[in-house]
Symmetry: C2
Subunit: 210 residues, 2 copies
Amino acid sequence: MELEQILPKDIERRSFEIITKELGDRVLDPVNASVIKRVIHTTADFDYVQNLVFSREAVPLALKALREGTPIVTDTNMGMAGINKRALKKWGSEVYCFMSDEDVARAALEKGTTRAWAGVDKAAGLKEDCIFAIGNAPTALVRLYELVKEGRIKPRLIIAVPVGFVNVEAAKELILSLDVPYIVARGRKGGSNVAAAICNALLYQLPFPG
Amino acid sequence: MELEQILPKDIERRSFEIITKELGDRVLDPVNASVIKRVIHTTADFDYVQNLVFSREAVPLALKALREGTPIVTDTNMGMAGINKRALKKWGSEVYCFMSDEDVARAALEKGTTRAWAGVDKAAGLKEDCIFAIGNAPTALVRLYELVKEGRIKPRLIIAVPVGFVNVEAAKELILSLDVPYIVARGRKGGSNVAAAICNALLYQLPFPG
């Protein structure tokens, strides 16, 4: 196997060409294609062609939310590190992760729950509706489900892509039952990297504002 | 599909039970098993049973390096965010990512290469031999290969797990040809999350020093 001579700036374009070629006859919904392809680019895993489920108009609604400067709340520092903050800042937005916050740790301890659960509660107190990018904690999805059902929050988008073996699939199914915009990675697979990739795939569809 | 009632502290243990059960008859080398299982825990992808290749004694040599406070150099801020820095600090060590450093950006621009490549050069200038945890950039692996071949560095461990479609597999094969301790995810799969998971799987095998 030989190394291909390629300029750094051309690697991403070439990668997407390979992905498109290997998708072959599998037809992607053109509205969702760039999200699906970027997740494959991040994972080298074509299972996401089947796994990713989009609510109706999820992508255009998410793009509208991002243009309006909607903040992103994520459940891991890894996810936060992976989201393109420069692109986000151009739209007057930013990304929050409350997992290391002292008040969140205290609330989780008091209530015998996870910090991810308590972090969603904290996000519910923000003055704006948010985009949630959940790549790790099914408990964050459960709490989002409860707060939406109680009418206490109206997420602009829920990216529900935790990875794992315990309660991950069931928690994602809860989100699939909601009447909010969502992008869900059905099944066990996902991760903070997938959550960040979806955020970036959305951001890269917006014109880079001057 | 129902949510299982489980305490937050028990989720990880339960996840590893499920992984062990689903591995079934597949026998893992006991020395490498906890690394392999943690990567599966991070990805929900059992392909890593086949993909992960360990040089002889890689795990015990890595544990020795970590006990001695060997620093970890990684090629992404996501990887850095995912590594358990509290565990690392207990052994007097830390993790570096040079990707955002101005001198690295300048060197990459001057040489027409990637910041990952230039970042490895910067790591080569550290006074200690390092553990390299490369989850993203095949160019970092190519540069590591060159510097090892030239006798300029002696990595204590190379974790070679970039994900992707261009030069990723070939760059990993270069590392497999080296006479240094390595853990390689053969093929296209991997990622910053996998790099961090391997570092953590190693750290969690050490006694938590008082």
